[in-house]
Each structure stands twice: as C-alpha cells, then as structure tokens.
C-alpha cells in the first residue's frame, strides 16, 4: 500500500494503552463516590430497616446503649450552627470582598486576598484549637463554659468566610469590564457602579458561593466538635451547648457497635445526601451560563 496506510506500529499501540488507562482511571475516580454511597448504605441498612426513620424523631431521648435513638437534638444542632454561621459570614464576607476588589488600595488588596486564600487552607482542627482555648473563655464571660452554640457559630462562620469571599471576589471579577466602563461613562461613581452594575451581575455567582459555604458548614466536624459543648439537648439560648450530627459521629464512632454504629452511618448518609444536593445545585447553577 502507500506510505500512509494504517499500521499497527508500536506508537498506535501505546496510544491505545494510553486511552484505556485514562478511561479506566476516570471510571475508577467516578466510582469512588458510588462506593462511598453503597458502603454507607450497607452499614446504615440495619438501622433504617429495623429501627426505622420515624423513631429518629419520636424516641424519647438519645441513649443509644438503652436503644433510644432520638436524633432531633443533633439535627437542630446542625441546622442552628449552620444557619448562624451563614448569617454571620454572608454580610461580613460580601462587604469585605467588595472592599477588597473595589475600594482597597491595590497593594493591600493583593495581600488581603493572599491572607484569605491562606485561611481557606487552615485545618479545621486549628480553628477548633483556637476556638477552644481562646474564644470559648472569652464567650464564657457571658455565662457558662463558653463551649456553646454561639462559639460554634462564630468559629464556623470564620471557617466558611474564605469560601464566601473567594467566590464573591471571582464572580465580581467575572463581570465584563465594558459594563463597568459603561457605568463610569454615565458618571456613576465607584459605589454606584458596584451597587447598580456589579452586584446585580454577580448575584448568581455570589449565591453559589453562599450555597457552597452552607454545605461546608453542614459537613464541618472538628472545629464544631471542639467548641460546641456537645451536650445532647435542644438549645434554648445562644449560650447553651449543642451537639451536631457530625460531632455525634466523631464522638461515638469509637465505641459504637451494631444498631448504634448503624445509626451513625445512617446520619452520615443523611449528611452526605444533604451536602451532595447543595453541591449539585451549586455546580449546576455555576455551569449553566457557560453551557448555554
């Protein structure tokens, strides 16, 4: 045949191997989440089948060793700490991000951004340590031990602030500069440009950032575990201790067996479902404008 007929040279065999290795790896990568889901489900199955979801709400208390499995205090703990953290972090993060992008001197803004990026990578156990040793005694002056709902909210809000700020910064940076110049050409000053042009245009991205931060708050374990007090009860004030779902797992996994262990896996499954939904919504919303 001619000089460019198809052949089975060593190169094309290598290319084939490359394709299959890449394909197999991505199947493996994608399968991890499925594997996690299946194993959680398998471990949680006894609890879901034998005890039933309704008893998680109707049992008189959480005494797993006496077969009392009321998860409501932990659910409330998770909801309240998350809500508090988001309520604190959102306005603070938005304002700080706007300052950083539009009002801070350039040199300061660079350093500020670097600090935030650094904080995004600080281990939660370090936040927890600081919260336990420094913040809790400080809050404790208001009454109690200081290991309570309020402290947990504050530490958690600090942990999600970088997420809120970084996504806000990048969605504000994605606003087309023509729009900004257009605004400036109309004689709008900086603040008006931000309020009338940037914020409306970046709203979607900021919303996604808050969603992701919420997911992070729901799933956070160590920091909350170390500062929330971990008493199983529904809090009636900000200074009452709380226990979240994640802290409950971390505290009891060490000695839990049979039904008790199974329930911890069930609550893990619940967490995973919750966070996965939030994250998927966020991802889909983030991508949709680009896909169209």
């Amino acid at each position: 045949m001619t000089w460019w007929s198809r052949n089975t040279s060593s190169q094309s065999r290598r290319d084939l191997a490359l394709r299959w290795v890449a394909r197999a790896s991505s199947v493996l990568s994608a399968a991890v989440i499925l594997l996690i889901f299946l194993f959680l489900l398998q471990e949680a199955a006894p609890a879901l089948a034998n005890i039933g979801i309704s008893r998680f709400f109707t049992d008189t208390s959480w005494h797993p060793l006496s077969a009392q499995f009321n998860l409501v205090p932990m659910l409330m703990g998770t909801v309240l700490t998350t809500l508090g953290a988001v309520v604190i972090a959102t306005p603070l993060g938005l304002a700080a991000a706007i300052y950083c992008v539009y009002f801070a001197p350039r040199g300061l803004a660079t350093w500020y951004r670097r600090l935030i990026e650094l904080m995004a990578g600080i281990p939660s156990v370090v936040f927890g340590l600081w919260g336990l040793v420094k913040l809790a005694p400080f809050i404790g002056q208001l009454g109690g031990s200081g290991q309570n709902l309020l402290t947990a909210m504050i530490v958690l809000s600090l942990m999600i602030l970088p997420t809120v700020m970084l996504t806000t910064c990048s969605s504000m940076a994605a606003v087309p500069p023509e729009l900004l110049r257009g605004g400036a050409a109309l004689g709008l000053n900086r603040w008006s440009v931000v309020r009338r042009i940037v914020l409306p245009a970046a709203r979607g991205g900021i919303g996604v950032g808050i969603l992701l931060a919420t997911a992070r708050a729901v799933g956070e374990t160590m920091a909350v575990l170390m500062v929330a007090g971990n008493v199983v009860e529904i809090p009636t004030s900000l200074l009452d201790p709380v226990r979240t779902l994640t802290a409950n797992i971390a505290l009891e996994m060490g000695y839990a067996t049979t039904a008790h262990r199974s329930i911890l896996f069930a609550s893990g499954l619940l967490l995973m479902g919750l966070v996965a939904c939030v994250a998927l919504v966020a991802e889909v919303r983030k991508r949709s404008p680009h896909e169209l």
Binding site: V32, L92, I98, Y99, I122, P123, M253
Partner: protein
C-alpha cells in the same frame, strides 16, 4: 416619569457626594474585622506554639500522653499516610485529568458523568470519608486501624481536588501546540508526554502542593481509619497518629495538653505556610512558561 428621573438624579448626586467615602468605610470595617480575626488566630497559634517549639520537639517521641516530649513518631505517621495517599492519588488523578482535558469528540456524556461524580465527591464532608474509610478499608478489606487505611481514605478525599487542578493545568496548554503536533503526525502519547504535560507541569505541581496541604489538614477522616496510636508505626498495617489528630486529642482529651497542642499546630501551620508559598510561586511560573504570545484565540 419626570419625578422618577429627578429621584434618580437625586439619589445619584447623593451617592456621588457621600457614596465613595461612606462605602469605603462601610465595607472597610467588615474587611478589617475579618482580617483582625484571622490575624488573631494566626498570631495566637504561631506565638504560643513557637514559644514551645524546639528542635528536640521535632526529634523526640511524645511522653505522658503527649503532655511531654515531642512529635517525632507523629511526624513519621503523618509522612507515611501522606506517602500512601500520593502514591495512589497522583497516577489516578493524572490519568483522569488527561481523559477529561484531552478528550476528542467522543462520549461527552461519559465525561459529564465523571465530572458530576467528582463534584459530589469534592463536596462530601470529611467525616463521611471517615465513616466510609472505616467501613470499607478497615472492616471490609480487613486493614484495621492502619496507616494504609488512613492513606487510602485521604486519597479518595484529595482525588477531586487534584483531578480538577491537573485538568485545568492541561487545558491551559494552548491548542496551537496540539495542532502543530497533530499536523506533524505525532502520536497522542508523544504529544502528551513530550509537549502537553511538560508545558502543564508547573501548574500541575501547584495543584499537587495544594492537595498535600489538604491531606495534611485533615482530621475527621483519619480518627477512625489510621487511628490514634502514638507509637511509631513499624509497617503500613500499624495504626499511626497524624499531626492533626494529635492536636485534637491533646486539646480535647488530655488535660494540660494545650501547650503541646499549640506547638504541634504551629508546626503544621508553618508547613502549610510554606506549601502555600510554593503554590503561589509555581502558579506564577506556570503563567510565564506558557508563552504569552500564544494565547488561545477564542
């Protein structure tokens, strides 16, 4: 209509006069608060940690449940766990990133499925990884509480981060190179290993460094997989305590453990600071390596 215009003009002139200064203050104060809190945390950990810090702290084993002595065995365990994680996660991530970034026409649906799965994986709380690692690696695969189980659990956790950064790095390589390679009839293998990956290397390294930071920061996923034995592990099947677990245990379960907890936290923090610095530097190098005259023409 008329009054609306006037209203508009009024609010405009109002914000022109008071806007910028007021806005600077109104956004500047929260920014200051945030920076202040973060500064407090960093300064607190570093100050109280470094006053406890000494060379002996790094080279001696913990004593009296960690209240005395150092963290040498903890460092060994941490490095072994990290080693397992990287050995597993680097090749898998690289190959997956190549699949996602270098696909040609076929199977868009497959790629989307992989991507969505990785998104969910990335969002999973670390305690869920802990549960999974315990059930799968420790119990089902009978590894028990071990370095191996901890490392593999962390590998699952870091996977989406490393895939995403590697994919972005590969995508950032200008298509011009791929076109030139194709027009010369170079195989995919040669194109990838001689041209695309070398060009993407600095950015991929930045992603790898960030992934290492993420792995070192993790606690919740390790408590029930690699465990909390403070002895130096003799094999991959021994339990070993990572630095972050050590901090947690000293602060929560050991009365009088705070000073050593601080010292360990400061050590971890300094490692992470260095890692962060390296990542920033690598990202800058990545920007320079890809010839700026070869931007993508979109």
């Amino acid at each position: 209509m008329n009054s609306e215009t006037r209203n508009d003009r009024l609010s405009l002139s109002f914000s022109r006069r008071f806007g910028p200064e007021l806005a600077t203050v109104l956004t500047g104060i929260p920014a200051l608060v945030v920076a202040g809190m973060f500064g407090w945390i960093l300064a607190d950990i570093l100050y109280h940690g470094l006053t406890q810090f000494s060379w002996a702290f790094l080279t001696s084993a913990p004593e009296d449940a960690g209240r005395q002595g150092g963290i040498s065995t903890i460092l060994v365990s941490t490095l072994m766990i990290l080693g397992i994680t990287l050995i597993i996660v680097v090749p898998v991530s690289l190959a997956t990133a190549v699949e996602l970034a270098e696909r040609r026409s076929r199977s868009v649906r497959f790629d989307r499925l992989v991507r969505r799965s990785l998104d969910v994986l990335a969002a999973c709380p670390s305690i869920v990884f802990g549960l999974f690692g315990n059930a799968f690696f420790c119990v089902y695969l009978k590894m028990g509480y071990s370095i191996l189980a901890g490392g593999l659990t962390l590998a699952c956790m870091v996977l989406p981060l490393l895939i995403r950064t590697s994919e972005q790095a590969i995508r950032a390589v200008p298509d011009e190179y791929r076109h030139a390679a194709a027009s010369l009839g170079l195989s995919r293998w040669t194109t990838l290993f001689r041209i695309v990956l070398p060009a993407a290397l600095p950015a991929m390294a930045a992603g790898l460094v960030l992934s290492i930071g993420r792995a070192l920061s993790e606690t919740a996923a390790l408590i029930f997989t690699s465990g909390y034995v403070t002895r130096s592990p003799e094999s991959l099947f021994d339990s070993g305590r990572a630095m972050s677990v050590h901090i947690y245990d000293l602060a929560m379960n050991v009365p009088g453990g705070n000073p050593r907890a601080y010292a360990t936290a400061a050590t971890l923090l300094i490692v992470l600071l260095v890692i962060n610095g390296i990542a920033v530097r690598l990202t800058r190098i990545a920007g320079l390596t890809l010839n700026p005259s070869l931007e993508k023409n979109h």
